[in-house]
């Protein structure tokens, strides 16, 4: 934390009709404990609601969690919604119950990292740190 002059703000979202948010909350708490300011949207949000909240909160990264199997539809929808709101620069990370064969499709659709059950929290937190670093650099470069 001491090495970073600015606090990173991130948004954790639960898109779709999936009500299981223990994973999302655990991640939000882990991010809090790693010095991030983590905004949580709560469950059952549309892609557009998550994008609108990400813009209002001026976050440097968005994390999505899905355990319902609808990730192939919902995660890319958030990427698209961010673009439509002029916020395509905000990186989107995803996680949840996601079959290996879907990983390539999600990456293709612009999800920068995807994590499945069993991933150590520290690894996910580091991915957020890296995504935020890159986003911040891109900003100051402009």
């Amino acid at each position: 934390m001491a090495g970073r002059s600015r606090k990173y703000r991130v948004l954790i979202g639960k898109p779709g009709l999936d009500g299981h948010d223990r994973g999302a909350k655990i991640l939000a708490r882990a991010l809090r404990d790693a010095g991030f300011e983590a905004v949580y949207t709560g469950i059952r949000r549309t892609a557009d609601e998550i994008a609108a909240a990400a813009v209002q909160e001026d976050v440097s990264a968005v994390g999505l969690s899905s355990l319902s199997g609808a990730h192939l539809r919902l995660f890319p929808a958030v990427v698209e919604a961010l673009k439509q709101r002029g916020a395509g620069d905000i990186p989107v990370l995803g996680g949840g119950v996601i079959p290996d064969e879907d990983l390539a499709a999600l990456k293709q659709a612009g999800i920068v990292e995807v994590y499945t059950p069993g991933t150590p929290l520290a690894q996910v937190v580091e991915a957020f740190e890296n995504a935020c670093d890159r986003h911040q650099k891109g900003r100051s470069g402009k």
Binding site: K7, R32, A34, E37, V39, Y40, A53, E57
Partner: protein
């Protein structure tokens, strides 16, 4: 987003520009001066700044959600600054207030911004005050400041408000005891939320007694009963807010509070702007940690 785009976007009420502006000011970016200098002072003067405070779990965010709906029904553009504590250990924060307000997420005339206290000794008042000004300048009125009412810095933030509501709920008696010396004195409206729950009438009677005492001293404290989760009592609460705002504007109390808030913000900014230089000077004299700290501080200030 470069400087011109940002300032142009702010004028055009672009959501991204407004959000960026708040972050840049909060982070002490060099652009802060240009941002804050470009604001519409007359809009800021006209806007109502409504403070919402109270113990955790009293229903502040749910009540805020209902108040947003109430003002949106009248087509008023509304801003919310929802403040949650930062972790003293990690410096991070879990910001969960907007969960209760997500039904307004797609309404471009509702701007909700979560803000962490960042464990600052000072500066929170300055950052929150600046966020209020940015939202008010973008046409939001009211701008609601929502914060847990514990600690001095939160007390200071709430004094930025034109009208302050203290949200209470039955079953939180111990918190009320703890707050008696502080928030009950500065609140204009005592809201008994969860008024359908056991203990609400007793709490309301206690609050009526507090309000009577305040009125005897020339104050104008009011009591409102609400069930925020069902939207009950919201219209009455909004009427009470408006009546008080009108009374304060006509009677000079509004101007007095704004002046007080202004001085508070200037002081907070002065200390905030001084902080880096002070830290540097303290670090420089780091090898010589002898003598009284107060005398050392006075010596450093003489050098500035």
């Amino acid at each position: 987003m470069n400087r011109e785009d940002l300032l142009q976007g702010l004028k055009g009420r672009d959501p991204r520009a407004i959000a960026r502006a708040i972050s840049l000011v909060e982070d002490g970016d060099p652009l802060a001066d240009a941002i804050l200098g470009s604001l519409d002072e007359s809009r800021i003067e006209q806007a109502l700044v409504l403070g919402m405070t109270g113990p955790p779990g009293a229903g502040k965010s749910t009540l805020t959600d209902q108040i947003i709906a109430g003002y949106r029904a009248r087509s008023q553009r509304i801003g919310v600054i929802a403040i949650d504590p930062s972790s003293a250990i990690s410096g991070g924060a879990f910001l969960g207030d907007r969960i209760r307000m997500m039904r307004h997420a797609l309404d471009s005339d509702v701007i909700v911004r979560s803000m962490a206290t960042r464990g600052r000794l000072g500066g929170l008042c300055a950052a929150a005050g600046a966020a209020v000004r940015i939202l008010a300048s973008s046409g939001c009125s009211p701008v609601i400041i929502e914060t847990v009412g514990v600690g001095q810095s939160e007390m200071d933030i709430i004094r930025l408000a034109d009208v302050t509501t203290l949200v209470l709920a039955p079953g939180l008696g111990d918190d009320i005891q703890a707050m008696k010396a502080g928030l009950l004195e500065v609140a204009d409206i005592l809201v008994v939320n969860k008024a359908d729950c056991v203990g609400a009438e007793t709490l309301a009677m206690d609050m009526e007694a507090v309000a009577r005492e305040s009125r005897d001293k020339g104050g104008s404290t009011e009591v409102c009963m609400t069930v925020a989760s069902e939207g009950r009592g919201i219209a009455e609460l909004m009427q009470t807010v408006e009546a008080l705002e009108k009374q304060y504007r006509q009677g000079g109390e509004h101007a007095r509070r704004r002046q007080h808030a202004y001085d508070l913000e200037v002081l907070d900014w002065a200390l905030e702007l001084l902080r880096p230089e002070l830290l540097e000077k303290i670090a420089k004299s780091g090898s010589n940690r002898t003598g009284d700290p107060r005398l050392k501080a006075a010596g450093i200030l003489r050098q500035i």
